[in-house]
Amino acid sequence: MDFFNEQQVLAAKELLYKIADDHLILGHRNSEWTGLGPLLEEDIAFSSMAQDKIGQSEHLYNLLHDLGEADADTVAFTRNKGQFHCCQMVELPIGTYDFSLVRHFLFDFAAAVRFDLLAESSYENLAKIVKKYRGEVKYHTMHANTWMMQLSAANEESHTRIQNSLNELWNQALGMFEEGPYEGILKESGIFLGEKVLKERWLSVVLPLLEKYGLTVSAVNYWKPVNGGRAGQHTEHLQPLLDEMCEVFSTDPSAEW
């Protein structure tokens, strides 16, 4: 699609912002494990995946720039928390390693499905970019899945820890699929099939895996998605993260790097 009408541009921007913000914020969060990981090899792998996420966010901010938004650095480092569209799950502190791993599992499978859907998008520049991420995202889900498989079966303590983190994160994860104001336009214009489709596909991937590992989630009627993030409502954890992430940039925003 080379041409967007005004509504489609707004819809595309909303979509890009939420994906890019999710990746930037979770990428930053996961990078907080750098140097503190449970073993050297895992430390390197987790840090490298965090860098992948930040890289992906940069490309998506560049697309936003093409649609008339400020450049990637300005967008990433100068907005306040109310201007971020990430879901609340990604801004939560890293917690213990099991917590970060379960979040990584829930998030990266959703990212993989989202990118698969977007690979078919009529928004060609976006489709082109997400196709490039297939390898990275495949590795991320492979990593997350291998850990989930190991820890859910290793011993009682590891199983309990994974289950507890899953309990804590499930409703948070459902918040990834909070619908925006432009679902109809995105679908009609062939840009994106929408959060509902994404959520169903994600569930069809994630639920069988969890079941295989002997992990449980509550019955559907108890699911309460933690929404609000897409509309700029955030937890008290986001602003301190932004302060820390932007600390160097804000000392001299005009500096050439």
Partner: protein, 124 residues
């Protein structure tokens, strides 16, 4: 509380008098040898080792440690304990006497004959 330049450490609110016990010797996962293949059909080359609890995790780590940059199409991991090696004390078995250099292909002097044959038969 420990005040560090690294905000992540400060956030942990660690008591300054905390005692950290050192890791016990060998209190870590076993090692896997990593073999890297650049292109399909080429040989796998040994590139290093990773610590991992099992082969699946070893492959995950091998990818990040040894295939992050440059071209890769395949990786192998093999438990270090499954590698049989000669003893360094026996490295003299690889020595060869100079009188038998005819066994070294480098000593065959055939290139000039091959060249002459090619020229004669108009082969390049």
């Amino acid at each position: 509380m420990i005040e560090s330049l690294d905000p992540r450490i400060t956030r942990e609110e660690i008591d300054e008098n905390s005692v950290f016990s050192d890791l016990k010797e060998l209190d870590q996962f076993e090692t896997y040898e990593v073999f890297h293949q650049k292109k399909r059909g080429q040989q796998h080359s040994h590139v290093g080792i990773v610590h991992a609890p099992n082969a699946e995790m070893a492959l995950l780590y091998a990818k990040e440690q040894f295939a992050r940059r440059g071209q890769t199409c395949n990786l192998w991991v093999v438990k270090t304990q499954h590698v049989f090696a000669t003893d360094y004390d026996d490295s003299d078995i690889f020595e060869t006497t100079e009188e038998k250099i005819y066994r070294d292909p480098g000593t065959y002097k055939v290139m000039d004959r091959i060249k002459a044959y090619k020229e004669k038969n108009n082969l390049s």
